[in-house]
Amino acid sequence: MTEKMTMVQAVNAALADAMEADETVLLLGEDIADKEGGGVCGVTAGLSTRFGTDRVKSTPISEQAIMGAAIGAAMIGFKPVAEIMLMNFFTVASDMIVNHAAKLRFMSGGQTSVPIVVRTMTGAGVSNGGQHSDYLEAWFAHTAGLKVVLPSCPADAYGLMLSCIDDPDPCIFIETLPSLFTPGPAPERGRKIPIGKANVIRQGGHVSVIAYGRIVNSIATLAEKLSGEGIEIELIDLRTISPLDLDTILASVRKTGAAVVVHEAVKAFGPGAEISSAIHERLFDALRAPVKRIGAKYAPVPFSQPLETASLPSIGEVEAAIRALAPAKIPVPA
């Protein structure tokens, strides 16, 4: 399959395919209809023209109202995909998401449910500064009742979006701004990728590397290089942050005896902490060394490009961590 697609195109295709297949799928968010440009990055381009502005609605700048509209419609049979343009804007809408979307099923004793998807974009690396770049997936992973998905490539974005729309519970779907326009292999149309299931991108016996999001791609490249030197990493792309696919993670670490966890969210109290402690708790005796966590520095994301880079996890750090964890004696490749 040599066809290429960007994440913008892939999410667009998933939304289109879902809307085509199921007329209860609705879209809402700021500027998402074609009259308003089809989304600031074009993710929803063409959809209002194709499916009508009743189903694809541009909204005022009112994130609470956006989320409320999605929640209410979801409670009576619709499957709204609501856009909170950038992840930092969750901070004005989190009551609706955390106190309501996440909890209504439980608090109603299972009588109501909120099958929404909240699409959002984020990510440092494009000099957007401190208020437009944060990865807050740890907040939502810590909130019982939500599912949190963060695809690393266009094809995964497509398949995961289909699953999120289908899912009976609220899903947070995070698109990585800096790689939104990076082409990758096109998805197979209609093929869903399950939520809560990690993807073993590459098998290897020496070190497990657990990551998600765009950095997975750089690690895949690194893996090639290391393989040339005889270091074989097992690269796990989580795809879903919550619920965490511990089975896949543990199976890998049981085999390799060492793990590096990498994300672009701030390291302190970040998703990596959960993954690392879960591994230690269950595979303490199987580990050669403690799990290494790599994440962004404890700082707001700086604007200045060199500083922004310095605040992010670097592939160099990942490489060093892998080398440090690789078994002392690597069998010479055949």
């Binding site: 509209a69 309501h100 109603s108």
Partner: protein
């Protein structure tokens, strides 16, 4: 203003009787220590949902707040399940998982009860949007208080409802206080209903203690919504007789204020009105009241006889499937 039909007038009374007695019993039971919960008494505010609900169908929706047992009961939430919920029993509306601040009963259209000030409005919009998309003429009521008219979600919701012409009615029960803060001390406008102007939406202030005035205003708003003409903001003037949360003192009120306001009790007012106007006989009303007494007795008994939920319920309803930790 013509009077509603006799049937409707009795229907309103019937609801008011239930709401009032239910609140009285709830307070008595809590005072006796038999049930423990944060309880936000609705006594004094019965006329509002009673009048509104006679205009609603089971297929219409409401979203209400912690101070919302009256709204839920008026809409048709079963008394026994309500009591069981407030007693934390598995037979409650929400299997005991929600409690007084989260009563839900979709069968009767009680979709959300929220403890977060301002949060009924955004979700009510969503229910109304969904109804509109389905092409039916269901309406949604968002209940909230005067204090909630100062929070951001109010503004966002009314604006969206107006632009999208949603079949939603925003009912602000202005009881003069947000917890212990006087409405005028925190609200930069005399008449909350006038805030509707910011959204090109009709806004009406009404005496929420007069069920018939309330009925008229609600009728206009609901018909407007059903006809696809969009939302209305109603400010219903009222008073909560037992303070913010049951057990509170009333030191924050002006001397004599409470006494004065207690005189404007919608219940005896309406009861006398019905009898004096020849719309109903004393016996008829007393029979309704007696029926409710029995119903509440039975509900309380049902609640206390019911089992608590099993500990496994913690893992259920978090997601559609059971969580395994």
């Amino acid at each position: 203003m013509g009077l509603p039909t006799k049937e409707t007038m009795l229907d309103i009374f019937t609801k008011m009787s239930l709401l009032k007695q239910n609140d009285e019993r709830m307070r008595a039971v809590i005072k006796s220590g038999r049930l423990v919960m944060p309880y936000y008494s609705v006594r004094g505010q019965e006329a509002i949902p009673s009048a509104i609900s006679t205009l609603l169908r089971d297929t219409d929706f409401i979203c209400t707040i912690y101070r919302g047992t009256h709204d839920s009961l008026a809409k048709g939430c079963p008394v026994d399940k309500l009591w069981a919920e407030l007693a934390g029993r598995v037979t409650g509306t929400c299997k005991g998982k929600g409690g007084p601040m989260h009563i839900t009963h979709p069968e009767s259209g009680v979709m959300v009860t929220t403890g977060i000030v301002g949060s009924t409005m955004p979700i009510a919009n969503g229910l109304a949007w969904g109804s509109k998309l389905k092409g039916n003429d269901a309406v949604t009521i968002a209940y909230f208080g005067d204090g909630a008219s100062n929070i951001g979600a109010f503004h966002e919701s009314l604006n969206l409802a107006s632009i999208w012409k949603l079949p939603v009615i925003f009912v602000c029960s202005n009881n003069g206080y947000a917890e212990h803060t006087k409405t005028e001390a925190c609200t930069a406008i005399d008449e909350i209903a006038r805030r509707a102007d910011s959204y090109s939406m009709p806004g009406v202030r009404v005496n929420g203690n007069n069920p018939l005035e309330m009925y008229e205003v609600a009728k206009t708003a609901i018909e407007r919504a059903r006809a696809g003409e969009g939302p209305t903001l109603i400010e219903a003037m009222t008073f909560r007789f037992f303070g913010h949360v049951f057990g509170d003192d009333d030191k924050y009120m002006d001397p004599g204020e409470k006494e004065e306001r207690l005189k404007d009790d919608p219940y005896p007012f309406y009861r006398s009105f019905l009898i004096d106007g020849g719309h109903a006989g004393e016996d008829e009303l007393a029979a309704i009241e007696a029926k409710h007494k029995d119903e509440i007795d039975a509900a309380l008994q049902f609640a206390l006889d019911s089992p608590f939920p099993d500990a496994d319920e913690v893992r259920r309803d978090v997601y559609a499937y059971e969580v395994v930790e």
